[in-house]
Symmetry: C2
Subunit: 412 residues, 2 copies
C-alpha cells in the first residue's frame, strides 16, 4: 500500500452486530455462550461464519481435524498466505468474545477490503481453529496443534469427552475429510484477541502489542487415602487425603506468591471419591495449572509442586503422584510481525503497551511454523472464561483496525 | 428361660456362610459390596434373606417405606414384640458386614431357637430397615426414621437419587404398599453391628456393650467466587474459592483436634464448578460431617464451623453459606436393654467394654419409641465403609450368641 492512498478502516458497527449474532448461538441464561467443540452449537456458529465469509468473496476449505480456512485470493495468488483467525468454540460457561473476536475481526478486515474492491498482493487466509478451549476434548488448541504438526492427527482424533464420544466419531458424523490437506505456505500470521486479564484496563491502554506467551503447564495430583466411616474412626487412625489437601493448598498458594505477581496458580478441578458425606475419601484428585513468563521462575514452580506433594504424602502416610498432563513452553513472537502491529498502532494513534500473554492461544502453535504475533484489546475487569465477559465496541473496532493495517503491511 | 435349661447357642458356621452368600449379591471386584438402597441388587439381597426367614418359621411383612419385618410368634403372641435387625443396603464401595451382620445375627438367633423348637414368650420381630446408608437417597436411616414417626412418609418418598429417580418411583416399581401399617408395640429392641472403629481391637475386647450414640450432623459449605481465566488473571485480582478452602481446611482440622481425640471431622465430598482445569472456579461446594459424644464439645464444633466459614468469606471477599443438611442428637440407650446385653456377656464369659457408638444406626430412631441397646463386635483395623471391611467368624459368632441370650432375657 502506498502512503498516498487513504487507509481503509473497518466497519465497527458491523463487527459488533456480528459478534452479537454469533453470541445468540448457544447463548446461556446468564448472558454467556456454550458452544463446546464439535457439538451441534459449535457447528451452527461455524455455519453462520461460513455464510459471511463466502459473501465476502472467500473460498472455504476444511481439514481432517475440524479446522476451517476461508481464503481470499491475492493479486499474486501463488505467494504464501498471510493468515489471521482464532476460534469459535467456548468454555461450558464461556463469554461472547474469547476467540470469536479474533475470527470476526479477521472477517471484518477482509470484508472492509471487499467493500472497497482492494486486493492484497499475498492471499489472505482466515482460520477457525478447532477445539481451542480443550474443555470438551482434553487438549487445548487441538486443531492448530495438528495443523502445525505438533500433535499427530490420529492421537487427536482418539481424544474423548466425558461421555466417551471421540473427536473421530464427531468428525465422521459431521462429514469432515479423513486426511489432512497440505499446509499452505504462510508468510506471516496475526491473531486479535481480548486480553482476558486486567492489565490494559488498569493502564488505560486500548491495544496490547503481544510479544510472546508465558510458560504454562497443567498437572494432575492424586492422593490415595483409605476409605473409612466418618463416625467411629478416630482422626489419628485415618488415612485422609483431604488432610493432605489441607497442607498442600496453603503451601501451593504461598509458593506461588513467592515467585512474584507474574506467577499464576489455578486449581480448577477437585474431586473426592467415593464422594459420600459420611465416608473418609479413599481418593482425592485435583488439577494444578502453573504459569510464569520467566523460564527460571516457571521451572521453580514445577519443582515446588512436586516437592510439596512428596512432603505431604510422607507427612500423612498417603500414596499418590503428580502427573504433567500438558505443557506449553513460553513463546517469543516474530519481530517483523510485532513491528507490523506496532506500526499500525502508531499510524492509528492508539494508546498501547507491549505485553506477554498469560493465556495460551492458537498463535503459540502457529508460531512454530510461521512468523506470528498477536493484538490484544481490553475486556471489562479482565474477566474471561466467564459468562459475564465483556468488551466495548470502541476497543473492539480499534483492535480490528490495527489488525487490518498490519495485515495490509504484511500482505503487501 | 429357667437356669436349669442348657442355654442355646448359635451356629457360627451357618452365620458365616450366610454372610458370604449375601456378600456375593452386588459383590465388587475389590471384595466389597455395592447394594445401594432400593436398587435391583438390594432387592436380590432381601429376596435371599426372606427365603431364609420363611424357612425359619417367620412371617414376612413389608411397609410403605421399604422396610421388611420377619415375625416369629411368641407363646403369648399378643404381647409386645422384642425386635432386632439392621440393614442390608451398602455404600457404593461398602463392605460385607456393615448392617448385614445385624440382620443375619438376628436371623441366626431365631433359627437357633427354631432348630431346638424353643419358643419365646414375647414374639420376636427381625427388621431390615430401608436405606440406612443414605448414599443413594440422601437421608441416612430413612426407613427407621419413617417407622419411628420422625420423618414423614411423603417427605421420604420424595427424596431423589443423583439421576433424579425418587424413592416413591422405586417403591411403586417394586410393588411396596402405599400406606404405612400401624407400628407393632415394642417391648425392647437390640441391634448387633460391627464396631466400624478400632477401639475393641485396640483393647483386645470381643464385645462392645453400646450405651449410646454420639452427637452428629452433616453440613454443606458453599463458597462463591468469580470464574476467571487461569492465565492472564493476576492472583490478587481473583475471587478464588479454592483460596478460601486453603484457609478453611487447616483451620477446621485444628479446631477439631482442639476438642480432643473423641472429636470427628470428615470432608467426604468436594466439588468445583465449572470444574475446568484452566478456569478459576466460580463455585466450590463441600460437605462437613461433625461428631462428638459430649454435648458441649459437639455444640462448640458446630459454632466453630460457622465462624471459620464466615471469617474466610470476609478475608477473601467471597460470598457463601453454611447449611446444616442433617442432624442426629446423641442418644442414651435404655438401662434394661443395656443390662440384658451386659448379663449375656457375663454369662458367656467374653472380654467386653462399654462404649459410645461413633456412627449413627437405625437404633437411634428405634430408641425414640422403644427401649433399645446395641452390641458391637470388632472389625479389622476399624475399617468400614470400605470394600476391605473384615471381621472374624469367631467374633461374629460371639456377638450373635450375646444377641441370642439378651433376646431370650428380654422376650421371656
Amino acid at each position: 500500500m502506498s502512503e498516498s492512498y487513504e487507509l481503509p478502516r473497518v466497519n465497527g458497527d458491523r463487527l459488533w452486530s456480528r459478534l452479537m449474532e454469533m453470541a445468540s448461538v448457544g447463548a446461556t441464561a446468564a448472558g454467556g455462550c456454550n458452544r463446546q467443540a464439535l457439538g451441534d452449537l459449535d457447528m451452527a456458529g461455524r455455519a453462520l461464519f461460513k455464510g459471511w465469509a463466502l459473501a465476502a468473496g472467500c473460498e472455504i476449505r476444511e481439514d481432517a481435524i475440524g479446522n476451517v480456512f476461508a481464503r481470499r485470493a491475492g493479486s499474486d495468488d501463488a505467494l504464501p498466505v498471510v493468515m489471521t483467525g482464532s476460534h469459535l468454540d467456548t468454555q461450558p460457561t464461556g463469554g461472547k468474545f474469547d476467540g470469536v473476536y479474533g475470527v470476526l475481526a479477521g472477517l471484518e478486515a477482509i470484508e472492509s477490503l471487499h467493500d472497497r474492491g482492494l486486493r492484497t498482493r499475498h492471499p489472505l487466509e482466515l482460520c477457525v481453529w478447532c477445539n481451542e478451549e480443550g474443555s470438551r476434548f482434553p487438549h487445548a488448541m487441538m486443531g492448530s496443534a495438528v495443523w502445525a504438526g505438533k500433535l499427530p492427527l490420529a492421537a487427536a482424533r482418539q481424544l474423548t469427552d466425558r461421555d466417551g464420544v471421540s473427536v473421530d466419531a464427531e468428525l465422521v458424523r459431521l462429514g469432515f475429510p479423513a486426511e489432512m490437506v497440505p499446509r499452505s505456505a504462510v508468510k506471516a500470521a496475526l491473531e486479535a484477541h481480548i486480553e482476558q486479564g486486567p492489565i490494559l484496563e488498569q493502564h488505560s491502554k486500548t491495544i496490547g502489542v503481544v510479544t510472546g506467551v508465558q510458560h504454562m503447564s497443567r498437572h494432575e495430583v492424586v492422593l490415595h487415602g483409605r476409605e473409612a466411616h466418618a463416625g467411629p474412626t478416630p482422626m489419628d487412625a485415618r488415612k485422609d487425603p483431604v488432610r493432605g489437601l489441607a497442607d498442600l493448598l496453603p503451601a501451593l498458594y504461598a509458593m506461588t506468591a513467592a515467585h512474584g505477581p507474574q506467577a499464576r496458580l489455578t486449581i480448577g478441578f477437585i474431586e473426592t471419591r467415593p464422594g459420600s458425606a459420611n465416608t473418609v475419601p479413599g481418593l482425592l484428585r485435583f488439577t494444578v495449572d502453573l504459569r510464569h513468563p520467566e523460564a527460571d521462575h516457571y521451572a521453580a514452580l514445577k519443582v515446588g509442586l512436586r516437592s510439596l506433594v512428596t512432603d505431604t504424602l510422607q507427612t500423612h502416610g498417603l500414596e499418590g503422584a503428580t502427573r504433567c498432563l500438558w505443557e506449553a513452553p513460553g513463546v517469543s513472537f516474530d519481530r517483523t510481525c510485532i513491528s507490523a502491529v506496532r506500526d499500525a498502532v502508531r499510524t492509528l494513534g492508539f494508546e498501547a503497551m507491549e505485553m506477554v500473554s498469560g493465556a495460551g492461544h492458537d498463535s503459540c502453535n502457529v508460531s512454530d511454523v510461521a512468523p506470528t504475533a498477536m493484538i490484544f484489546v481490553p475486556c471489562a475487569g479482565g474477566l474471561s472464561h466467564n459468562e459475564a465477559e465483556s468488551a466495548t465496541p470502541r476497543d473492539l473496532e480499534a483492535g480490528a483496525n490495527v489488525l487490518l493495517l498490519a495485515l495490509l503491511t504484511l500482505a503487501s
